[in-house]
Symmetry: C2
Subunit: 128 residues, 2 copies
Amino acid sequence: MTDARDTGLRLNPKYDKDGLITAVASNVETGELLMLAHMNAQALAATIETKVAHFWSRSRGRLWRKGEESGNELHVVDLRIDCDQDALWLLVRPVGPACHTGRRSCFFRRVTDEAGLALVDDESAAGQ
Amino acid sequence: MTDARDTGLRLNPKYDKDGLITAVASNVETGELLMLAHMNAQALAATIETKVAHFWSRSRGRLWRKGEESGNELHVVDLRIDCDQDALWLLVRPVGPACHTGRRSCFFRRVTDEAGLALVDDESAAGQ
């Protein structure tokens, strides 16, 4: 079932009860998913205006320009919204590692069932 | 700040208060983000076991094998979890269009500020 929000051309983000929408960023060159975070309307507006990714930090309870401390900004090349307008996709050029652990991507661990259920760190060999 | 969950090699998903974790799927060949949905522990286990994406349908309140009606399954090539283990990334080979609108990706609309804030449908020219 589809409605106007699903296929129409009016931007109408469906914020959750906390006023947030999920946003994921991937590297526009490689397709690698870098991080998942949340935006409120203010963060979305700032992202659109500056073309630098802004999020709402739930832990700090404030607007957060990604890289404001680390310098590792995400420069937004393309911004997309999904069918029911409750998720955003940012295609970005990262200035540096996206993850707070120093990894290139937050998704640096692969789930494997080779030895029960464990994780494999694909970036560890590259150092951090 | 990091802890064992952030960098350790034990799978320890951080489910929200509803028992769900956000999961995004992208095309392993092209890097295109296809969809964002949610999994509970049962959906994650089924995905790992069958290598076909399963989610928890919040609207229907039940386990949902993506493609169970449409046939448009997502075959999971790689499964990753992020630093704080509250998001999953599935790298998939899609059998058909991932979106319920018939589009290849749910993220078929680009946000543009060229004429105020509107959306551009990048897949419409290709038909649906």
